[in-house]
Amino acid sequence: MSNFNAQLNEHEDPGMFSIRGDLDGGKENQGYSDVKQFIGLLINDEEFLLPIEVMNEIIMVSQLTYVPSAPRFIEGVINLRGKILPAINLRKMMGHETAAPTMQSRIIIAHFEEHMVGLIVDGITYVISLNQEELQNQTLPGKGRSTELVSSISKRGDKVNGIIDIAKIMMETGFDPNAKEEISENDS
């Protein structure tokens, strides 16, 4: 963990986002087919992983419009090039206190089916490639809400990280996938 922090501190220009880490991991392991890539993110100083295929992009935290009477973990809405997306604070969803945004704070634009959301995280670490053997489907018996979003675990080396399931995030928001018709109605 201290390793990350050191790296983050080195990273001085907050306006730029660069990806570090074992981008060449896939090559080492040969055969791309059984290799999955993940993005590491920080929530309350703990590293979680998010499958890279659900992620569209990572943006800086800039403007955010407060939406009264929205669920408490929805901090508001953001404007992504003309599209209005809800921003979910993963900190809050995991039961932590709201912290003021820092220079490292980012919003991960992710998608679940055709629905796009912004995920507010405390920071981004790096992209990591994992073999199938390094993953383990596992729900955790944790008491807090922080474990509810985790559906599997990476066990690479001696490091263990929870992998966040976007479907669980959506479920947590009370999103009903059957209500699609109304959504399209709204869109039109």
């Binding site: 403007q63 419009t65 009264p68 003309g82 209005i84 997306l85 959301v117 209500a179 959504i183």
Partner: protein, 855 residues
């Protein structure tokens, strides 16, 4: 040798052949006028008949014992029959004329053979006569005659290729033989040597046999021709009608069902199918409109031409795509239109009814195309009905094969009762309007709505960019006045801004279409309803040029249908009652639209019996919607009609009266951010007024600030905004009110209604704090009140500040955010910030319910 007879034979034959050839040439060009051609074929047949008679008399005179005579008689009889048949029918069809054209052709070929036989006979008995004959005929005459006969025979061949399938094959086979016979004889004749002729004529038996066989064959062909003609009563001037269809159907028996679709490469091409669908939609709409006009003015050539063109295009397209059932029904309809076009059929109400049924049937078939799978409805009955209609016979339908028109079934029965000259419903537009519309149509192209939306979004982005440019320019100008480029930059930015405004204006207009598109179908609906209800109703449409967003035009249709049906069913009385009440027996429904500021107002007025508020009130009490003692003014009572489950109709009809309608209408109108109102005077009529915003995409909004948060209020719901002093607010119990002029205005504090204090300590708060956007808030002397809602029941929304007014694109905030109370959506402002657009009706509702809970 009777020289006179011979010369007359010669001249008649020549004349007939020349005409035949020119007729065939015309035919192949496809330019032949039908009547002309019919006439020509007639004369040809007559001439050939005459010729044959002369030949036979001559033969009988000179050689009464010869067997040719009966043959000739038979063929002349056949020809006579044929021409009689022609005269009886009095009509001509390319198909029949083609085949007829070829049958005299064959006959003349046969004549040649017979002539050869003829020449032979005299040769056998008086050699001198033969010498004479061979001198006269053998050389150029005979050769030319045969060559002439041969040529047209060949000429018919490529044409007959157009007659596809078995019939063509049959004809060809038939034609081949005489052609062969003729050519073989001509070969032998073309030597121009009498000696050869003599040798040839030595064996008359072969020629005789040939002639006999040919005659028999032709007789058979004629029989089949006549048989097929009886089926072919509704004929067309189609250049290449498919004979399979017509010959496949037996006129007496009900038509067989055919497979709806035939597999075809075009069907799998989504783009082609899309084109087909949009084209067919357009044509169907036009057909509807035009057929209604045809009923009004049955002699208007332009209208029938238009109908015919449309029907033909659709038929062709359907055929190309392999939609066989569609093609067949359309073909029959086209046939009918063709008869009308040629004044052979007068389009009375019964025929128009059949045509409309046919259109409904087509619509169902087209819908199946859209859905991508055959719907399997039977079309044979429809085809049969159309055929009978074309014959001018009345018909009895076993069932209406369409889903869409349950009214039409009744209509047929009432149709007989209504005299054809009574044309209920449907007012036609002035020709000036039509011309204008036509002009406009020609200069349009079809654009995918999705692309248009992308364009609108991109332009929205550009607008945001422009504001950024403007702020850079401002900074440059104020902070670095010494930079030389600054001046030209400012200029460019200004120009850019101006162009952007123009682009924005135009792109907003692109989505607008005239509301007339939604109105046009009502003429048909009112016509059908008035017939099925036995009422006389005129529909007057005005203001159809008013423009509205395309999605709105599409969605306003259903509510309007409902309202128009209500007016027809409940509003306008029967002619008898109307006359009793001193009204004109024909009721009038006025459907009008006009623009009022940012709204379009659609009115449906009828001069019917009106609505009795007392009945509504009684019913409402019965249904427990209101209590016995509640005091309501007339408007409130009429408003009860929009409550779910409310119906005053004593009996439920298939048109209206189930009480599910008006609340749905209201819901739909509300969904379009519109308002609906009903006004009625007992005995005088009812007026329904719908107010709709011009567009859903762009909304003029008022930006307000409350507790540092900016919100947008759609200007459509804003009545006015006022400034008041805090001490002017009065309290009635818990509620705050303000006396505005002579009304008491209930007040809602926006920050309280939305619970804006909950923002404290959130992420958004942290961000705005960090940006130090928070302005020092001076103690507010005055409060701003935005008066919103319905003009009769306004609500005041108390805000901290009024910012400005601006056009914005309301966007959905995604599936997660759709249930946020009081928020209709979001909009991106020029500087990229998102503002929430308030849902005013919901806000009013929520404060009201809050108050109720509190009370």
């Amino acid at each position: 040798m009777d020289a006179l007879a011979l010369t007359s034979i010669d001249t008649l034959l020549k004349k007939a052949l020349v005409e035949l050839r020119s007729a065939l040439a015309n035919d192949s060009k496809g330019l032949a006028d039908d009547a002309d051609r019919a006439l020509k074929v007639h004369t040809q047949i007559h001439e050939t008949t005459e010729l044959l008679k002369i030949v036979s008399t001559w033969l009988e005179k000179s050689h009464p014992d010869l067997i040719q005579a009966p043959c000739v008689d038979q063929s002349s009889d056949d020809l006579g029959d044929m021409s009689d048949e022609e005269i009886l029918k009095g009509m001509e069809d390319s198909e029949t004329s083609e085949s007829l054209g070829s049958s005299p052709e064959e006959l003349s070929d046969e004549d040649a053979a017979k002539m050869l036989a003829e020449m032979d006979e005299p040769a056998a008995v008086p050699p001198s006569v033969f010498e004479e004959l061979s001198e006269e005929l053998s050389d150029d005459e005979a050769a030319r005659l045969l060559a002439e006969m041969d040529k047209p025979a060949v000429a018919t061949e490529p044409e007959s290729n157009e007659l596809s399938d078995d019939e063509a094959a049959k004809l060809l086979a038939e034609m081949d033989k005489p052609a062969e016979a003729a050519s073989s004889t001509s070969e032998e004749l073309s030597d121009e040597e009498a000696a050869r002729l003599l040798a040839e004529m030595d064996e008359p038996a072969t020629a005789e046999d040939d002639a006999n066989a040919l005659l028999q064959k032709l007789g058979g062909a004629e029989e089949s021709e006549q048989a097929s003609k009886t089926e072919l009563v509704p004929t067309t001037s189609e250049p290449a009608p498919s004979p399979v269809e017509t010959s496949a159907n037996d006129g007496k028996n009900p038509i067989e069902e055919i497979p709806e679709w035939e597999e075809n490469d075009f069907q799998t091409d989504p783009e082609m199918i899309n084109d087909f669908n949009s084209n067919s939609d357009e044509i169907m709409e036009k057909l509807d409109e035009m057929i209604l006009r045809l009923e009004q003015e049955p002699t208007n050539k332009k209208v029938i031409e238009e109908i015919f063109r449309g029907a033909h295009t659709l038929k062709g397209a359907a055929g190309m795509f392999g939609f066989k059932a569609l093609e067949r029904v359309m073909h029959r309809m086209e046939t009918l239109f063709d008869l009308v076009r040629k004044d052979q059929l007068i389009p009375d109400s019964n025929i128009i009814d059949v045509v409309f049924d046919g259109l409904d049937c087509l619509r169902t078939l087209l819908k199946a195309v859209k859905d991508g799978k055959p719907c399997g409805i039977p079309t044979a009955d429809m085809v049969y009905a159309l055929e009978l209609a074309a014959e001018g016979k009345s018909f009895k339908k076993s069932s209406t094969p369409t889903v869409a028109s349950q009214n039409n079934a009744e209509q047929t029965s009432s149709a007989t009762a209504t005299p054809p000259q009574a044309k209920p419903g449907a007012s036609s537009k002035s020709s000036g309007d039509e011309k204008k519309a036509k002009k406009k149509e020609q200069s349009t192209i079809r654009v995918d709505l999705e692309r248009l939306d992308v364009l609108v979004n991109l332009i929205g982005e550009l607008v945001i960019d422009r504001t950024r440019f403007a702020s850079i320019e401002e900074e440059l100008r104020t902070n670095y006045p010494q930079v030389e480029l600054g001046g030209s930059f400012s200029e460019t930015v200004q120009l850019f801004g101006r162009h952007m405004n123009e682009i924005q204006d135009i792109i907003m207009k692109v989505r607008m279409v005239p509301i007339g598109n939604a109105f046009n179908k009502f003429t048909r609906i009112v016509r059908d309803l008035s017939r099925s209800l036995d009422k006389k109703i005129d529909l007057v449409i005005s203001g159809e040029t008013a423009e509205l967003d395309k999605t709105l035009v599409e969605q306003i249709g259903d509510p309007l249908i409902h309202l128009i049906r209500n007016s027809c069913d409940h509003g306008v009385e029967t002619p008898e009652i109307r006359t009793e009440n001193g009204k004109s027996p024909t009721g009038t429904i006025i459907l009008s639209a006009h623009q009022e500021g940012n709204h379009i107002v659609i009115k449906i007025e009828d001069d019917g019996k009106g609505i009795d508020p007392d009945i509504i009130r009684r019913k409402a009490i019965e249904k427990g919607l209101i209590s016995e003692e509640s005091v309501l003014d007339k408007r409130d009572i009429l408003g009860l009609i929009f409550e779910p489950g409310f119906s005053t109709a004593e009996q439920v009809t298939n048109i209206s009266g189930r009480g599910v309608g008006m609340d749905v209408v209201k819901k739909n109108i509300m969904k379009l951010k519109g308002m609906i109102e009903l006004d009625s005077e007992l005995g005088k009529g009812t007026t329904t007024t719908i107010r709709l915003p011009l567009t859903l995409a762009i909304v003029q909004s008022l930006l307000v600030r409350s507790k540092q948060e900016v919100f947008a209020i759609p200007l459509s719901s804003v009545i006015e905004s006022i400034r008041i002093l805090p001490e002017e607010i009065q309290k009635v119990g818990d509620a705050e009110v303000f006396k505005l002029r002579d009304r008491v205005l209930p007040l809602v504090h926006l920050d309280e209604a939305l619970d804006l204090d909950s923002k404290e300590g959130t992420y958004a708060e942290h961000i705005s704090k960090k940006k130090t956007q928070r302005r020092s808030r001076s103690k507010q002397e005055r409060l701003f009140v935005v008066v919103v809602g319905h003009a009769d029941r306004p609500t005041g929304i108390v805000v901290d500040q009024l910012l400005n007014q601006q056009e914005m694109v309301i966007k959905s905030m995604g599936g997660l955010m759709k249930n946020i109370p009081c928020v209709a959506g979001g909009a991106v402002l020029g500087h990229g910030e998102v503002v929430l657009v308030l849902d005013i009706p919901e806000l009013e509702e929520s404060t009201r319910s809050k108050r109720q809970i509190a009370a």
